[in-house]
């Protein structure tokens, strides 16, 4: 692939454009790419969603299975989030053990879901200290065109919002019932391109960037997770202004997730 060439040549170009407040794909610095959500994409999952954010494509699947609660939380269910950056999704990914990038996506998404109290873990307790539901959120990145963290959480949140607890299948209750979802966290990622900070970076913008900041917010007006990544730095004032922008994007994106469509 031309990855090496694109990286070098486009970097210069992206930074030059950003100095004038422009972007390679014609977006404004604070403009998010088109988002489409397809809940229920996978029938073998208890909840699922295919998310397209520009050219980025992420599929999340939720599975619930009876398991054993952790000793220190005997009255709560278990939540496990896992992201796979499979080599199909980018010329830059190689097969092999999970890369730090995949682990970072998993953990940042997991933190937002946990901290926002997206699902009621206590409600997933079946018999205290003995039996509870384990909720697996598996995130499969199909096309990496930038901003995987936001796309992964959008996919996970949509999948959880449409998930069913398979209580009948496992002989735990008479009927299956919808998984209760409380707060919906939305992550919003920015990258620095010189003095300009742009939202929802493409793959090439991430490569050219001097620092990435992800801010997760919920509808209760709380910041629930943050992650600074890549090489570069942000001032406290940068952070304050990006938090403001993250709330605005968060509200809009959350409405899409609640609406369950585009």
């Amino acid at each position: 692939m031309t990855e090496e060439v694109t990286t070098e040549i486009l970097q210069t170009h992206i930074l030059d454009l950003a100095a004038d407040g422009k972007r390679l794909d014609g977006r404004a610095p604070d403009e998010y790419r088109a988002l489409s959500l397809e809940p229920g994409y996978v029938v073998t999952a208890d909840g699922s969603a295919l998310v397209r954010l520009g050219e980025t494509m992420v599929l999340a699947g939720v599975k619930l299975e009876p398991g054993k609660p952790f000793a220190d939380t005997p009255n709560a269910g278990v939540l496990t989030t896992n992201a796979e950056l499979i080599p199909l999704s980018s010329p830059t990914f190689e097969p092999g053990p999970p890369q730090p990038g995949a682990i970072e996506v998993s953990r940042v998404v997991d933190r937002a879901i946990r901290a926002a109290e997206t699902i009621d873990l206590a409600g997933l307790c079946i018999t205290p200290a003995e039996k509870c539901w384990t909720c697996y959120v598996d995130i499969h990145v199909l096309a990496h065109a930038g901003n995987l963290i936001d796309a992964a959480l959008l996919a996970a949140a949509t999948a959880l919002s449409h998930a069913t607890v398979p209580a009948k299948r496992f002989g735990i209750a008479e009927a299956d019932y919808p998984l209760k979802v409380h707060h919906l966290p939305i992550e919003c990622t920015f990258v620095r391109l010189g003095d300009t900070i742009v939202v929802d970076p493409t793959f090439d913008e991430e490569r050219a960037s001097q620092g990435r900041l992800t801010i997760a917010t919920d509808e209760a007006g709380r910041v629930v997770a943050m992650q600074k990544g890549l090489i570069g730095a942000f001032s406290p004032d940068d952070v304050r202004s990006l938090v403001r922008r993250a709330f605005v994007h968060g509200d809009r994106l959350r409405a899409s997730v609640r609406g369950g469509g585009a």
Binding site: M1, T2, E4, T6, L10, T12, H13, D25, D204
Partner: protein
């Protein structure tokens, strides 16, 4: 089957004609007296020697004389710069095997070149024209639009700003010398979120 009777698109495995009638060309193969397509593309017949070939769509890139290519400088010798040919300027795909190519000191720029290290540095990306594709790849940057399109600071490794006459490091202010490609550098297709033309 004559030129006019050929379909617009053939797929691997499609029968093209009998071996008594045609010679199997590029993108085809012969099996027991029959010629088939091996590539997805448009079939064509060369009337001079009755060769039937398939001009591929989405072809695996190969280097041909006269092509513009991107190449990375790996080593600078007295009389030549040794490069790795990365990709044709018109393709988003890499050249398989990333072959070695060389820029001779006489082909580095228009006019006389004292020393190559005043024109290129290891790690630079060049836009170059292929003078010879086989048996070895020979490149030229001796045109105003050809030369270095991306370079890093020798002192601090930041990307140099190539806009001015003298490449300057935006981070440490270090000034360097390069044979720069002047004019609009063609962006690699597909790198900007736009759709590929095929």
């Amino acid at each position: 089957m004559d030129e006019a009777g050929l379909p617009e698109l053939v797929l691997p495995g499609d029968y093209l004609g009998a071996a008594e009638e045609y010679l199997p060309g590029r993108g085809t193969y012969e099996d027991r007296g029959r010629i088939y397509a091996s590539l997805l593309g448009r079939p064509a017949i060369d009337p001079t020697d009755r060769t039937i070939r398939v001009d591929p769509r989405n072809a695996v890139p190969e280097i041909q004389e006269g092509d513009l290519v991107y190449a990375r400088v790996d080593e600078i010798k007295t009389a030549m710069a040794v490069c790795t040919v990365l990709t044709p300027a018109t393709s988003r795909r890499g050249v398989p095997g990333k072959p070695e190519g060389t820029v001779h000191i006489s082909k580095a720029k228009e006019g006389y070149t004292e020393t190559l290290s005043g024109e290129f540095a290891v790690g630079d990306i060049l836009l170059a024209r292929v003078l010879q594709a086989h048996p070895s790849v020979k490149l030229s940057t001796a045109q105003p639009t050809l030369g270095v399109v991306s370079a890093r600071c020798q002192a601090c490794h930041a990307l140099l700003s190539l806009g001015s006459k003298e490449p300057t490091c935006p981070r440490c202010g270090h000034k360097e010398r390069r044979k720069l490609a002047r004019g609009a550098t063609p962006l690699p297709p597909g790198g900007d979120g736009s759709d590929d033309a095929d």
